[in-house]
Amino acid sequence: MSDGARGTDHRNEPPDDEAALSARLKRLGNRLAHANRPPENGSGPRQTADPSAIARGFRLSTELVAGVLVGAGLGWLLDRWLGISPWGLIVLLLFGFAAGVLNVMRAAGVVHDRQLNDR
């Protein structure tokens, strides 16, 4: 559409009806672009990452498991480096569980993303 508009701009003296036609085409193009534009981030309803119930369930479970796994992994590493076994594992596993719950709540939309809150 922009190509057509540019093409008519460079032409010296377009005939009247052709100019009118290209103007109408341009207006139509603008209106189409306006109508088809998807909602920008934050303005429209939030698009969720879970279009179906299975995907949603899978997403929530993996979010929780991932949090706990990260906590356990970090705790285990900390124990090995600092030699404070088993305290790193115990404490970080609990933190990991909290992070997992936070993940789930965020994924489920219970806690709103801070990006959307701020804007």
Binding site: Q47, A49, S52, L69, A99, G100, N103, R114
Partner: protein, 250 residues
């Protein structure tokens, strides 16, 4: 008769390519299917955009549909600024979608059913978010971990939990795709083996075998949905994570 639903995920070395130290790098069936996926995508997109006609052919209009689909996903989650990551997200989406769909063909190998593949993809997203986030925002990137309106005395605790939540992203990102594909293909295989097992048990077994057959047909349809859905979910989560690197906190 032995039923081995895991056998389909076995990696087979086809021929050695290089040798680094004592580790032999071989061209495996997994690599072959990745090359096949890239070839399919290239043929689809190059063929679809070769003749850019105003009235699109079927192939061109499908190619345009995939472009519009991914572009709209990015715009709605990461804003217009996210469009600079369009090549990245589009590549991930098309690669995963094609691999998932190829994996549904009987006797084909499903590359995404190996966690090393999905973990690599998820880590590439994670590193992109980290590197771009720091390059663009500098130390303001740490605002991501500091929610607003939190009393100062529990702030360290919250920040720590936020960091762990951030670190758990590549894990959940990769495990989701991997687990979906693995579970789906194992279920398909198990139900398919019921057909042959029941079919060998006389005329009553034959009649009973129609039940798992119906199940396999239904599951194949479900797997087709899952193949698309997981590629979409991977892409949209990539966008959400990239959004964090573009606008951390505020």
């Amino acid at each position: 008769m032995a039923v081995d639903p895991i056998h389909q995920f076995q990696i087979v070395n086809w021929f050695p390519v290089a040798k680094i130290g004592n580790t032999e790098i071989a061209f495996t069936n997994s690599a072959a299917f990745m090359v096949a996926a890239v070839a399919v995508i290239s043929v689809f997109l190059i063929g679809g955009t070769a003749r850019r006609s105003l009235v699109p052919s079927r192939l061109q209009s499908t190619a345009e549909l995939t472009y519009e689909f991914v572009a709209n996903t990015i715009r709605s989650t990461a804003g217009s600024e996210g469009m600079r990551f369009f090549p990245f997200v589009f590549t991930l989406f098309m690669f995963i979608l094609t691999i998932n769909l190829i994996g549904l063909i009987p006797y084909a190998f499903t590359v995404t059913s190996h966690i090393i593949i999905t973990a690599t993809l998820a880590l590439s997203v994670f590193l992109t978010v980290l590197i771009y986030g720091f390059w663009r925002n500098g130390l303001h990137f740490f605002n991501l971990f500091v929610p607003k309106g939190i009393p100062i005395y529990i702030l360290p605790l919250i920040v720590f939990i936020e960091v762990m939540s951030f670190l758990s992203r590549p894990i959940s990102h990769s495990v989701r795709l991997f687990a979906n594909m693995l579970a789906g293909h194992i279920t398909l295989k198990v139900f398919a083996s019921f057909i042959t097992l029941l079919g060998g048990a006389g005329i009553i077994g034959m009649a009973g075998a129609t039940l798992p057959l119906a199940m396999v047909v239904a599951l194949t349809a479900l797997e087709l949905l899952v193949a698309f859905l997981q590629a979409y979910v991977f892409a949209i989560l990539t966008c959400i994570y990239l959004n964090d690197s573009i606008h951390p906190g505020h």
